[in-house]
């Protein structure tokens, strides 16, 4: 099932400030459930943010990024109304996506 990413993008002068919140368990694979069974690793491995075809941020993550990850960054050269689209893929091949128009 594809996850959702909440995205906010706002212009601060000539920079666009992006804040994204992803819903994901980010299991390290080192935790155990109350019965003592290992909880399998399940975490986002890649995140990409784009405006049109232009990649404005990309990241590789390990399991040490917190549950329901937050990502914040700024880029230049965008204008109000442009759409920032962010997507992720995790170690099970599941994907998530979200986008927002720049305010």
């Amino acid at each position: 099932m594809a996850g959702r990413i909440r995205v906010r993008a706002s212009l601060k002068g000539d920079m666009c400030e992006v804040k994204a919140l992803m819903r994901h368990p980010m299991e390290t694979g080192m935790r155990k459930d109350p019965q003592g069974n290992q909880i399998p690793a399940h975490f986002i491995t890649e995140v990409v943010a784009k405006v049109g075809d232009r990649v404005v941020m990309q990241a590789h993550w390990g399991a040490a990024v917190s549950q329901n990850p937050f990502l914040g960054f700024e880029f230049s050269g965008a204008k109000a109304g442009d759409e920032v689209a962010i997507s992720y893929v995790d170690n099970k091949g599941e994907t998530g996506a979200g986008s927002a128009k720049i305010k």
Binding site: G62, A64, F70, G72, F73
Partner: protein, 150 residues
């Protein structure tokens, strides 16, 4: 004629193989350094990156002095080093120090913010790659409740 069609079939086959391989690395056009993500200890992580980072005063590591909950520690790394193309977050005493690698394209500010797990009180490192060279800075974050749970 025969050769020509054989060539086009080969081409088609090549294209199909390329298409089949795509979904594996569909999102990014840079390669994940698995060895660095699974390395234990700072030295091994640096070795896996092929990095011998120099200390730099031009990297700002923003993290709390004291984190009550180690599983959600806000970390911000920014740098004024010219030509910075990559920012990494490493947590010294986590099972695998390397937490995240951010690729900074041209036009994007060399500053990222996220939240990471910090297993115990230790140094949080911001590592920056610029023009093939590596730089680092760190800040201690005290953890009162460990971040790796269970």
């Amino acid at each position: 004629m025969m050769f020509q069609s054989r060539r086009s079939i080969l081409k088609m086959g090549g294209a199909l193989i390329a298409m089949a391989a795509l979904p594996l690395r569909a999102l990014a056009n840079f390669v994940r350094n698995d060895a660095a993500f699974t390395a234990t200890g700072m030295d091994d992580t640096f070795a896996a990156l092929g990095a011998e980072p120099m200390d730099s005063a031009d990297i700002v590591v923003g993290s709390p002095d004291i984190a009550e909950n180690g599983s959600v520690v806000p970390v911000e790394i920014s740098t004024t080093i010219p030509g910075a193309t990559r920012i990494m977050i490493m947590v010294e005493k986590n099972p695998n120090p390397l937490s995240a690698v951010f690729e900074i394209p041209e036009g994007t500010k060399a500053a990222v913010a996220t939240r990471v797990k910090v297993s115990q009180t230790c140094q949080v490192y911001g590592v920056v790659e610029a023009n093939g060279k590596f730089y680092k800075a760190s800040k201690e974050t005290k953890v009162t409740l460990g971040g790796c749970g269970g």
